[in-house]
């Protein structure tokens, strides 16, 4: 018996040791498997990295290709422009040269005349060529030729010719003639479809170039135009919309970093944030336009230079025929500037396209020179004048902007709490609680605390050791032992029951102890979480007060901004740098 037992035991030992070795080997294999898993994970990460790099590369390659393509296109377009309109350039250069020659008197009439006639033949359809002939014949005192040349130039481009002669005569000090040409010019203008050069006229008003008579004429004409155009509600609304976009673009960035708790707790935060950044735009608008109106304009050294710059620009300005090419060129240049991003380039060109459109209505010219003076080549002085002229649209846009964000203030700001906490193996989920900050903070805090307590207590209680349930079975067994053995030997029965009960009691006691500890931990951690929640609520309330005061401060600037905009109406005339000191040359009495 003992031999068999011994044998069996040895077998069992061997089996045991085999099992142990097997276990070790399995462990080794599992180690290898996890190593393989890790390697695979690494490979995947690298692959993803590779993919991301590849995508970046593809994008980069695309952008580079776009840039190269755009550069090629720019070259092609410039060639084409040179080829098709290169002769215009020659005329322009000649025109500038001729005007300088007039000023300095270094060139003989004969040469001027020859050049003019040659250009006339070389550049059919271009208005500047006959205008130059007119100039040269004027210099040579050939009246009949001069008249025919003027008529031809006027036929080719009435508005430009009128403006050209107006500016040239002004340069020569023939004010009466200049104003007469100006009237011609204004008469052929359609206020709803002004050419791009009208910005130049605005420019000359702001420079006070045409003397008192010219200014009167322009002011009257502009007033009539405004009235005509303003009768159309849609045109006016379009201007207001542009001003509104301007104000909208000045909204401050989000202030979420300053209100972290309110942002986390309040469902209305998005609205609050939007309202505050809109309100902060008031200061930005005030600063920008106050600075603009107060800025000293930097006049050219002599007013003649400033106005002659306008003449230079008019002469150098490209013709309507060239416009499609110019637009294409602008787009390709934008592609290069935006690093090959065609979408961004398109957007950039679209924004400025207003200035490349063939015609604009007068109100748009004014708005554009106020908002985006660079696009139509207006100077800061013109910008100021235009801002002043646009004050009623500015006022409307500003009023509706203020109204909109004020109306968007949420009437009731609330707080929302719903969290989950891990306690041991269990998770405590706090059911959603929401409250409104219109109720006093004490009430709100009490409500939140009560909500926590109300849901945390049942949870903590559920963690308690269920003595009754657990003790039922052992109790029964002890009783059974007692009943079973007491007929044979009472003492033994008691001892046995005591041992069984004692062991069980020990086990149960340990478990109960653990449960009590867990319960204690849960109580503490939930208490902490509750305090944290209440703290957050209090902090959010404080931040809301901060928000309110910041909003009120930002919003209070509105009155100043409104006053500033209203003051633009009276600033309209004073802002012109040459107001009251227009050019009056001794040659005033000469008439052309």
């Amino acid at each position: 018996m003992s031999e068999v037992d011994y044998h069996l035991r040895r077998q069992v030992d061997r089996v045991n040791s085999l099992v142990v070795r097997l276990g070790e080997q399995v462990g080794a294999v599992s180690g290898q498997v996890s190593a393989v898993g890790q390697a695979q994970q690494e490979t995947r990460t690298e692959l993803q990295q590779l993919r991301a790099d590849f995508m970046t590369f593809v994008r980069q390659a695309e952008l580079t290709a776009n840039i190269q393509q755009a550069e090629t296109r720019v070259g092609v377009i410039q060639d084409k422009m040179d080829h098709e309109f290169g002769h215009h350039k020659v005329v322009r250069r000649s025109a500038v040269g001729m005007l300088q020659a007039f000023d300095t008197g270094l060139v003989s009439d004969e040469t001027v005349r020859n050049v003019g006639e040659q250009l006339m033949i070389q550049t059919p359809r271009y208005w500047l060529a006959p205008a130059l002939i007119a100039l040269s014949s004027w210099a040579a005192d050939d009246q009949s030729l001069c008249e025919r040349a003027v008529e031809e130039a006027f036929r080719r481009s009435p508005d430009r010719t009128s403006l050209f002669f107006a500016l040239v005569l002004r340069r020569q000090g023939r004010h009466a003639g200049a104003v007469r040409w100006l009237r011609h010019y204004l008469n052929v203008q359609d206020p709803a479809a002004l050419g791009r050069e009208f910005a130049v006229i605005l420019e000359s008003i702001s420079q006070g170039a045409f003397g008192a008579a010219g200014r009167e004429l322009l002011r009257d004409t502009l007033a009539t135009w405004r009235e005509t155009l303003l009768a159309d509600e849609a045109t006016e609304t379009a201007q207001v919309t542009r001003w509104r976009a301007e104000i909208d673009s000045m909204r401050a960035p989000s202030a979420q970093a300053d209100f972290p708790r309110l942002a986390a707790v309040s469902p209305e935060w998005a609205q609050l944030d939007a309202v505050l950044s809109s309100a902060r735009a008031q200061q930005a608008v005030l600063d920008k336009y106050t600075a603009m109106m107060a800025r000293e304009s930097e006049p050219s050294d002599r007013i003649e230079d400033a106005v002659d710059d306008i003449l230079d620009r008019l002469v150098g300005e490209y013709d309507d025929e060239e416009l499609p090419l110019r637009r294409d060129l602008a787009f390709n240049n934008a592609v290069i500037d935006n690093g090959g991003d065609r979408d961004a380039a398109k957007q950039a060109v679209d924004i400025d396209s207003a200035s490349l459109e063939e015609t604009l209505d007068y109100l748009t010219v004014q708005t554009t020179s106020a908002l985006n003076p660079g696009a139509i080549g207006a100077s800061p002085a013109t910008q100021r004048l235009s801002v002043a002229a646009c004050h009623s649209w500015f006022k409307r846009a500003h009023a509706s902007f203020s109204r909109d964000y004020r109306a968007a203030i949420p009437p009731d700001v609330g707080a929302y709490f719903a969290t989950t906490h891990g306690v041991g193996a269990q998770t405590f989920a706090l059911p959603p609680w929401s409250g409104s900050f219109t109720t006093p903070l004490e009430t709100l805090e009490a409500s939140l605390a009560a909500h926590w307590d109300g849901h945390a207590r049942p949870f903590i209680d559920s963690l308690a050791f269920p003595w009754r349930q657990k003790a039922l079975l052992p109790g029964g067994i002890v009783l059974a032992v007692l009943l079973l053995f007491s007929p044979f030997h009472v003492g033994f029965a008691f001892v046995a029951a005591l041992i069984v009960g004692g062991v069980w009691a020990l086990v149960l006691h340990n478990r109960a102890d653990a449960a009590r500890k867990l319960q204690e931990t849960a109580r503490q951690s939930l208490e902490r979480a509750k305090q944290e929640s209440v703290g957050t609520l209090r902090a959010a309330r404080a931040e809301l007060t901060d928000w309110q005061s910041r909003f009120q401060r930002a919003d209070a600037v509105e009155a100043a901004t409104r006053a500033m905009i209203a003051s633009l109406a009276t600033a309209a005339h004073a802002s012109s740098p040459y107001e009251g000191r227009t050019v009056t040359e001794p040659a005033e009495e000469q008439t052309s």
Binding site: S400, R406, A407, T439, E558
Partner: protein, 156 residues
């Protein structure tokens, strides 16, 4: 609004409004858009602003009725459209923050922050509470026109 039930002045003329609302609806009906809207956005006169402000000054019922009649008439003749009422800042002090005057029933109600305001007046509330407007006109279609202290109207 249960818990804050404020003392409320309700002015209900016995038979008076019968004719008046009829007239105001009649004048509000013919919404000839362009000409009407131009008139509607004209600056409000100083007298009108003062009158609307005086509605809060603790007048007796008869005076309020008379005043709102005058206001209604002003709107009908000068601006071509009569608002159903106004919302303005309430100067009675806490707990009230704003009140409304309904030209239709000639009622003045004062509201605390937690009280909901009936439609279509609710849209005007936050505008009024910003304190930047003299009062806000509320029209039957739900249009809300804030009036600045210089009498100019913010267009929708």
């Amino acid at each position: 609004m249960g818990f804050i039930e404020g003392p409320r002045r309700v002015v209900r003329p016995a038979a008076g409004p019968g004719a008046a609302p009829g007239r105001s609806t009649a004048s509000a009906q013919p919404a000839g858009p362009p000409a009407l809207s131009r008139d509607r956005y004209r600056d409000r006169t100083r007298e009108l602003l003062d009158s609307v402000r005086r509605l809060d000054a603790g007048l007796n019922e008869a005076a309020v009725r008379e005043l709102s009649g005058w206001i209604r008439e002003q709107y009908a003749t000068s601006y071509g459209d009569v608002p159903v009422g106004f919302v303005a800042v309430c100067r009675l002090g806490p707990p009230f923050v704003d009140h409304r005057l309904s030209l239709f029933h000639t009622i003045i109600d004062h509201f605390a922050p937690g009280d909901p305001m009936p439609e279509p007046f609710a849209a005007a509330r936050m505008l009024v509470r910003s304190g930047a407007y003299e009062y806000v006109e509320v029209y039957a279609g739900g249009t809300v026109l804030p009036v600045l202290d210089d009498g100019s109207v913010v267009r929708p």
